[in-house]
Amino acid sequence: MELRKIPFRRPLKLLFLLLTSMLIATASAAVYYSLVMQPSVTITAAVVAFKEGSDWDGSWSMGTNNTWCRLALKAYPNATLTYDEPLNLTNTGAPVTIRLRTVSISLASGNPQVSNFTFINFTLHDETGVIKGSLNYTTSGTDTWSTPSMGFTAMDASDEWYIAIQTKAAAGAEANIVADIEIAVDVQE
């Protein structure tokens, strides 16, 4: 029996083509969907970055891409030393919320040398000078640091805020005692 003589040859051909078409179309759409859903990572500049303030000292270091910096600060015995605007924070992107967070402090509580310090205060000000938060490390003459924390605060796009720092050592404090404080800036986009 010849295939040509079968009366349903054309509908069968159409059905076959229809099924294969549906298969190809569905599989293609699935591949395209997997492409759309594929996560991609694009390198962009940090939305919030550090910037040298008007009281920036040339001996301090500003890291690549302004994402980190290292400040060497002093503390005078029985006298408060204020750095008005050593470091700025700029927002080059969208509105965000930020906070300062303690990562570590190297003269750990319990070390007798801690009592040489009275306080080390980091205060975050907005562009108008309003205080948005602070991290105050105080000893009250003991060998224990207070553990400061700060809540998130909203920072608008294109804002440039500054961090003021105040230090004070205890009266009769030993010279050349160093406390290393590592602070992170948390940014929620």
Partner: protein
């Protein structure tokens, strides 16, 4: 946020056009070569392979390269649609079928393709000049109107009457 078009969308559109061509050429198999539906199915399968390659080398091929090879695939499928149109008009001398094909297949597919390509270009910062956009809208209106007139019952009746008289 709506995700923007990927260049592979043009390949997907090309695949669907080839599949549509395959089914239409099967329906019109008394006027077209018998192997044509299968050829178009193979072309659609090639497009599918094309998508798979694109997915596996997603990070290797840049946006520019991906756009061009997908766009060329779409152009090939559109060229096939136009070629079938010309085949009906010039080779088979079936003017009515050629007109219907133009109105129902060639023109809409070209218009849809132009729409998506211009949308893709707009999203990627390439702007079509205003006169081209106006020309596109004007030609769409004119062609749509002429299609409606061509396919009106009155015109089709007079056409079939003329054909009968010729026979």
């Amino acid at each position: 946020m709506a995700s923007e078009l990927l260049p592979e969308f043009f390949a997907l559109l090309g695949i669907d056009l080839f599949l549509m061509l395959s089914l239409l050429s099967c329906l019109l198999d008394d006027r077209m070569p018998k192997a044509l539906p299968y050829v178009y199915q193979i072309a659609a399968l090639a497009g599918f392979g094309h998508l798979l390659v694109s997915r596996n080398f997603f990070t290797v091929f840049g946006d520019y390269m991906r756009f061009w090879y997908c766009f060329i695939y779409l152009l090939v499928s559109l060229a096939n649609i136009v070629a079938v149109n010309i085949y009906f008009a010039a080779v088979k001398k079936q003017w009515t079928l050629a007109k219907v094909w133009f109105g129902a297949v060639s023109f809409p597919t070209i218009l849809i393709s132009v729409f998506f390509v211009s949308d893709y270009c707009y999203l990627h910062g390439v702007h079509f000049p205003p006169f081209l956009q106006i020309a596109l809208v004007v030609s769409a209106v004119i062609m749509g109107t002429s299609f409606a007139i061509l396919l009106s019952t009155k015109t089709l009746r007079s056409q079939s009457k003329e054909e009968k008289e010729v026979r």
